[in-house]
Symmetry: C2
Subunit: 377 residues, 2 copies
DNA sequence: TATATTCCTGAATCAGCCA
DNA sequence: CTGGCTGATTCAGGAATAT
């Protein structure tokens, strides 16, 4: 079967202190992916053949030879053949994906339009297209086009109405000077020690992707313990980064040479300590607290008065956890919206209670309760 | 017919001191483009509907309303309907294009994959995909995706084997710190005075493109006097930039309000002086000089000896313009390659003649002839 | 008049849970 | 599956207004 294992089975859920499981399955990715339980995968990263359609040989102005992609696996007889191939592996991925899973596909102008259109036709829902801007692209030697300085990744959900996909928004923002991460990423090519070479010093694979690119993919759209798969394993960049980041991994690869190099590479990876990977506790994911809990815990008494920051509005706290403004009764949110004449309002960040030291936001009281909940486990 | 004219007919070739001709034709672009002579157009720029498929209303965190694209012209019943629409206008463009013409199409992830795949299926040959990186994109208000900070343009030739398309390589390189222009362009949104507003201060069109973007498109892939068309004229950004840059223009627009605003806008444009637009004389476009002309002009005598810079090789000049090394006869290029054992060689920058003042590169002699040709007009 | 602050807006496929 | 409620969420730049 050409299956190798490292650590526990990838199918077993990873417990808190497990080492991430990594496997490479040698074989056709469509056939092998169909053996996975359906709906078992959290994230797919795919770097399929680009169908470059190169002709002849390209030389630099100094007459040196350009070592281009010239492998059999990148040759297709027609666009239609490439489309059939693409549909097949995308469908196999889709079957294996959880409803909340997302998929990344990388390509260039040679293939990415076909891939994107087929993904839409199959029902995938595009979330973003991401541009990998290369700091050090190969120049256009003939001076007949713009330097092809980027590649494109499509990030898509399984369905239009897929709920709950992972997007580590706050972590990305915190890592980016507190500004939202954009759709254009500037990352160098894979070179130097990171580039796998054979014993003769030749590159093992012509299209090895930089780990920095995969790191950003996995950090943005997966969690530690997730199962990540890559239908076109190649030299195993996805697996190497997955292991380092505490994600479980299954890669599929037809070529035994590539698979062997990838196995060795991934085995040498030391997963990062749990603490460095622990997910951000975001406001969105924080445990829910009902306003009535503040009353039950005695932090606010029925009959107390809530006011906004400028004390323009005052509302009365009822025993049942609703509040009253004039003769209107409702939630802290509803009444807050009504007070402002707005369509919506987050009552937690609108209403205050009056204390001897001045106004106190009720969101601070909620934070106290949350801290107690966290401490209690 | 809703045709307006400005200056001479766009079909007449522009003579040296003509003002560029601009027309906007009100009507369906497929029907109207089919009235153009086939093979008459030098460049197409198309900004088709993106088929955004928006649902509901989006508000900013401050509860303000996001004024999104909600026009009928962007609504399609299905991907298939959008594909049919796309095929039709692309075919009409292709018919009107000269064999050497190229086409630009701009889009976002909503439509660009379908557009690109259809272009390939119709026989267009993609030259580059260009990323317009926005300096000031709209943020992602809900924090559920990456900020969509770019749009994509496809630049394609009419056919795979199209010869002689315009790419002003040297001018772009000179304008870019003497480095090749890349496929990612950083350009701000269209705002401020450049943005067309109606008398109530509302934007005339929801998707007006910045002139800076069109300027780079036209400067890179067209020449003064070329005929540029835009099937989706809108507010006429393409026409405005074309006129300023001395290109003739025909735009197609169904909406009379847009067309009227565009007419007024384009009429107010003052074309730049000829001198600022004169094409860069590039090495590739410089007049060709045959080696035999050096002999005809008496700059080199038959029987003279050509040598390389280190005088390791010596070749004999024949009367017919070929040269001879040992018993091999051929062009300066072929024999130069043979002397070096290389696959190719630019003989002009390899061979020298011996003068009383030392070696002189034959390329310098060619430059003398070219200067004379230029002076003669 | 100069500086500081507020306001406005741009091609947007922009939530998740429970009853 | 729908409806309703909770409550989380924005960057850059130009224009307008206030100090």
């Amino acid at each position: 079967m050409g299956v190798s294992r490292r650590g526990a089975s990838a199918r077993a859920p990873r417990t808190k202190f497990d080492s991430p499981a990594s496997r490479i399955i040698v074989g056709d990715c469509v056939a092998e992916m169909s053996k996975l339980p359906s709906g078992s995968v959290d994230l797919v990263f795919a770097d399929p053949p680009y169908n470059l359609q190169l002709k002849g040989e390209l030389k630099r102005p100094d007459e040196s030879h350009v070592d281009a992609v010239n492998n059999d696996w990148d040759k297709f007889s027609s666009f239609a053949a490439y489309d059939d191939f693409t549909r097949a592996w995308l469908l196999a991925c889709r079957r294996a994906m959880k409803p909340s899973a997302t998929i990344w596909v990388i390509g260039s102008y040679h293939n990415i339009f076909r891939v994107g259109a087929i993904m839409q036709d199959l029902g995938f829902w595009v979330l973003n297209d991401i541009v990998w801007r290369k700091t050090n692209p190969m120049p256009n030697f003939r001076g007949r086009r713009f330097t092809n300085a980027h590649e494109t990744m499509i990030w898509a959900a399984r369905d239009e109405n897929a709920k709950g996909y992972t997007f580590n928004y706050e972590a990305l923002k915190a890592a980016n000077e507190d500004v939202q991460a954009r759709s254009d990423w500037l990352i160098p090519l894979c070179t130097g020690n990171e580039r796998l070479k054979d014993k003769d010093g030749r590159k093992v694979h012509p299209t090895q992707k930089p780990e920095g690119l995969l790191a950003r993919v996995l950090l943005s759209s997966s969690k530690p313990g997730d199962l990540v798969i890559d239908p076109f394993n190649g030299t195993g960049t996805t697996g190497a980064v997955a292991r380092r980041l505490g994600r479980n991994y299954i890669g599929f690869e037809r070529d035994r040479t590539y698979a062997a190099a990838a196995e060795k590479r991934i085995a040498a990876i030391e997963p990062l300590p749990e603490a460095t990977l622990a997910p951000f506790m975001t406001a969105r994911e924080a445990p829910r607290v009902a306003f009535s809990e503040l009353i039950e815990r005695g932090m606010i008494s029925p009959g107390a008065k809530l006011v906004d920051a400028k004390k323009r509005h005052g509302a009365l706290v009822r025993a049942d956890g609703a509040i009253m403004l004039g003769n209107k009764v409702g939630s802290i949110h509803r009444i807050g919206a009504m007070a402002q004449g707005a369509g919506a309002c987050n009552g937690w960040t609108f209403w205050h209670i009056e204390t001897s030291k001045g106004l106190r936001l009720i969101d601070e009281l909620r934070a106290e309760i949350r801290n107690q909940m966290m401490a209690a486990g």
